[in-house]
Amino acid sequence: MRAAFPYTIPIFAGYWFLGLTYGILMNVSGFSFVWPMVMAAVIYSGSVEFVAVKVLLSSFHPLQAFVMAFMIGARHLFYGITMLDRFKHKGWKKPLLIYFMSDETFSVNYTAKIPKDVDEGWFMLWITLLDFLYWLTGATLGGIFGNLITFSTKGLDFVMTAMFVVIFVEQWLKDSSHVSAILGIVLSVISLLLFGSDHFVIPAMMLMLLVLLTLRPRLAKAADKESDVMSDHRDSKTHLSERKEDQA
């Protein structure tokens, strides 16, 4: 734990800020603190939970809610693919590492240089659990004390917009090709104009999949380069851990 804790300090600040904001938003939207607390525990994905506030306040569309949460959470699929080898042979820790993986936890566990005398499984588990604890306490406290806030919270819901704008910009700065990012915006706006604000999400996602798969021959070249780098990286890591096991 001592090795893991320092890595989680920036995440503590971020998670408390966002978690508190989320709890407060739920509170001012008329939900008891039990909602943000339980949702923090069972969903544990900030972006999905923020969207859930909006979804819970609109009309009942369980399938759309599922598809939406799946698409927003879809990046976990790729974290999972990346961590397949790292989570091998972690025994009872493995389901916990999978269940409580978040963007931040993934990026720390993936990139951190774990000291040689520290067990990899325990290190990753501590990062994972500490991050989760920060989020859970932030969301719960925000839910409990949200009504004590004396300043006007009008406009606070913009935090979700700001979050996605920042993630979008971050992705943009990372990608060499911006075709997919632009498609995401353009196709969503087209779908919004065609289907209206209550029903545009699923058609937009279908359109995106369709166009991205059609463009695959053109876009795959750039994508291949990136994923080759990734899988090379993974291969070398696998070899390393195999070597470690051999030595053990």
Binding site: F17, A52, F66, M71, R75, V169, A181, M208, L213
Partner: protein, 108 residues
């Protein structure tokens, strides 16, 4: 929505996220990831985040009221702040505060 409908919605969303977490381990453990999945893995995130930005703004009316000006200003500020300092929390907090000030004062 009734309470039951809200609970069903939360359960649906929780199940969806849980599926995204466990599916790769159920499908690809010990096998090579199909090329098409790898491709989607590199191109889909950017598009989905674009969709989410639009989703957040879906109820902004550009034809009347403030014509989406507070949103436009706050988003521009968020982007500039982020390109400038590259600190996620700072950009999110800064953009939100600017927006709150705008809708509570200038565009109140």
């Amino acid at each position: 929505m009734t309470l039951t409908q809200q609970i069903i919605t939360v359960v649906c969303m929780a199940l969806a996220v849980m599926t995204t977490r466990f599916l790769p381990f159920a499908l690809f453990q010990g096998r090579k990831t199909p090329k098409v999945i790898q491709y989607l893995g590199t191109v889909l995130p950017a598009a989905v985040f674009g969709l989410l930005v639009v989703y957040c703004l879906k109820n902004v009316d550009v034809t009347s009221g403030n014509h989406g000006l507070p949103e436009l200003i706050a988003i521009t500020a968020t982007v500039l702040l982020h390109v400038w300092r590259r600190q996620m929390m700072l950009s999110i907090a800064g953009g939100t505060i600017i927006y709150m000030i705008l809708v509570q004062t200038v565009f109140a």
